[in-house]
Every structure is written in structure tokens, then in C-alpha cells.
């Protein structure tokens, strides 16, 4: 599969649009169907496609696993962070109203941030899962 030029080239061409579509789903989630989960999965699928075609090692070179781990935690931290900030500002956990000048804008900011956090975690977990499964080699085990 690695040597099939059609696959290689079409993957390279598709990579950017898939991520773009992911970002669209991420940020358009307020208006239409979509949001962090779906976007995360779509972005992850771009990297998974890359790894499938060019091999796991190449995929890992494109997206190193330690960065993956950091981003994986970062998504949750962003989500929790929004909540903690709202707490520090004197409201309850995850009360977005206080984040902006008006309650509505606060809600907008809050939702945007937490959706981003969700997307980050989901996409990175999916990539990590795929990498872990795909590079699991039972011969090296034991």
C-alpha cells in the first residue's frame, strides 16, 4: 500500500481539506450540527489516514507522541480551566455568564473554549488510540 502513488498523492491532497472540514465542524457547531466530538474525530481521521498510507512511523514523525500526550491532557485542562476561571471570578464552576461583558457573550466565549477543549482531547485520544493499536506488535512483547 505504501508504494501506491495514487493513494499517496490523494492522501496528500486530502489531508488539508479534512482538517479544514474538521475545523469547520468545530466552530460551526453553534449554528448547525457538529461540535467538539465530531470535529475531533474528523481531525483525527486525517492523521489516521496519513499513518495508514505512509506507515505508523511516518505518522509519528508528523505528530510526535509526546506532543500528542500533552495535547491530550491540555484539552481537559482547558475545559476545567474555563470552569476554574469562572469559579475564581466568583461564580459557580462552569458558569460562563461571568466570562464576558454580557451574559450572552460570556456564554459564547465559554462554549467556544470548552468545545475547543473537547475537540482537542477527542482528536488526540483518537490518534493515540490508533497509534497504540496499530503499533502494538506481539512479537516484541515478552
Amino acid at each position: 500500500m505504501h508504494n501506491n502513488p495514487i493513494l499517496r498523492i490523494s492522501t496528500k491532497i486530502l489531508f488539508a481539506p479534512i482538517i479544514l472540514f474538521g475545523l469547520y465542524v468545530q466552530f460551526h457547531g453553534d449554528f448547525g450540527p457538529g461540535g467538539g466530538f465530531q470535529a475531533g474525530v474528523i481531525v483525527a481521521s486525517a492523521f489516521i489516514l496519513y499513518s495508514l498510507v505512509f506507515g505508523i512511523e511516518a505518522g509519528k514523525k508528523l505528530f510526535p507522541s509526546n506532543i500528542n500526550l500533552i495535547l491530550l491532557a491540555l484539552g481537559g485542562i482547558i475545559y476545567g480551566g474555563v470552569g476554574i476561571v469562572s469559579m475564581l471570578l466568583g461564580d459557580e464552576f462552569l458558569a460562563y455568564n461571568i466570562l464576558g461583558s454580557s451574559p450572552q457573550s460570556g456564554q459564547h466565549i465559554g462554549i467556544l473554549l470548552v468545545e475547543f477543549g473537547v475537540g482537542l482531547t477527542v482528536s488526540n485520544v483518537m490518534i493515540a488510540l490508533f497509534n497504540a493499536f496499530a503499533s502494538y506488535d506481539k512479537i516484541k512483547e515478552k
Partner: protein, 137 residues
């Protein structure tokens, strides 16, 4: 009786699907199949929730300009979004366990594995293989 049955027959289908999934989990001894069963089971439960949320003649819960449109209940949708992700997390963890089990035991059939475990257990208990202390200086 008949009219009420028509109103709820959809539930019955969902219940049947659920029970098929549950049967796969409980009845099958193959570890992979159990996970598949779990997926089917959970997906069918999602259907139950979404069925609750449906309103006849309603539209998807995305606000539009027309004033008198009826929106389907968004709450079950939210719950199920959560549940789907929880489901895939469970699946992933289960699959990784199955992989490890296959490496260690060379099989993913429950019968095989419990037979091996039993032998192992008796070895430990009866012959005291594991009695050796870690003598460290």
C-alpha cells in the same frame, strides 16, 4: 389495545435489539464478540433515548426563523452524545485488554483461558511454585 400497541411498537423493536446485544455479551465466550455485543447493546439503548425525544412533525432542534416550528427534544440527544463517546471509550479499553490477553494466553476464548487459569492456580496453590521469596541482599 391495538391502537396503543401501534403507538409503542417502535419500543419493542428497540427492546429486541437491546436483548440481542445483551445476549451476545452474556452468551458468547469469545472476548471480541462480547465487546461487539456490548456495542450493539449500547447503540440500541441510544435508540431508546432518541425515540423518546421524537415529536411527530417536529424538526431537528436547531433554531430557525419560522416561529411555529416544533423542535424535537434536545435533551436526549445531548445525553446520547455523551453516551456514544463513553461507549467508544469502553470499546477501546476492552479491545486493548483483548489484545493483551491474546498475547499472554494465545487465545481469546473464555473456555481456553479459564482452563489455563485453573491449571495455573492449582500449580501455585498445590505445588507452591510461587513460594520463593525474593531474596535480596
Amino acid at each position: 389495545m391495538i391502537s396503543s400497541t401501534i403507538g409503542i411498537w417502535n419500543y419493542w423493536i428497540v427492546f429486541c435489539l437491546m436483548m440481542i446485544g445483551l445476549f451476545l455479551v452474556m452468551g458468547r465466550k469469545n472476548f471480541l464478540k462480547k465487546i461487539v455485543g456490548l456495542t450493539i447493546f449500547q447503540t440500541s439503548v441510544f435508540l431508546l433515548y432518541i425515540t423518546f425525544g421524537k415529536i411527530k412533525g417536529g424538526t431537528p432542534p436547531i433554531l430557525n426563523e419560522s416561529i411555529d416550528s416544533i423542535y424535537s427534544n434536545p435533551l436526549p440527544h445531548v445525553l446520547i452524545l455523551t453516551a456514544i463517546v463513553v461507549g467508544v471509550a469502553t470499546t477501546a479499553l476492552g479491545l486493548s485488554l483483548v489484545l493483551r490477553i491474546n498475547t499472554e494466553y494465545g487465545s481469546i476464548e473464555e473456555d481456553d483461558i479459564s482452563a489455563q487459569d485453573l491449571v495455573d492456580y492449582h500449580d501455585d496453590i498445590e505445588t507452591g511454585k510461587s513460594v520463593d521469596f525474593k531474596f535480596k541482599q
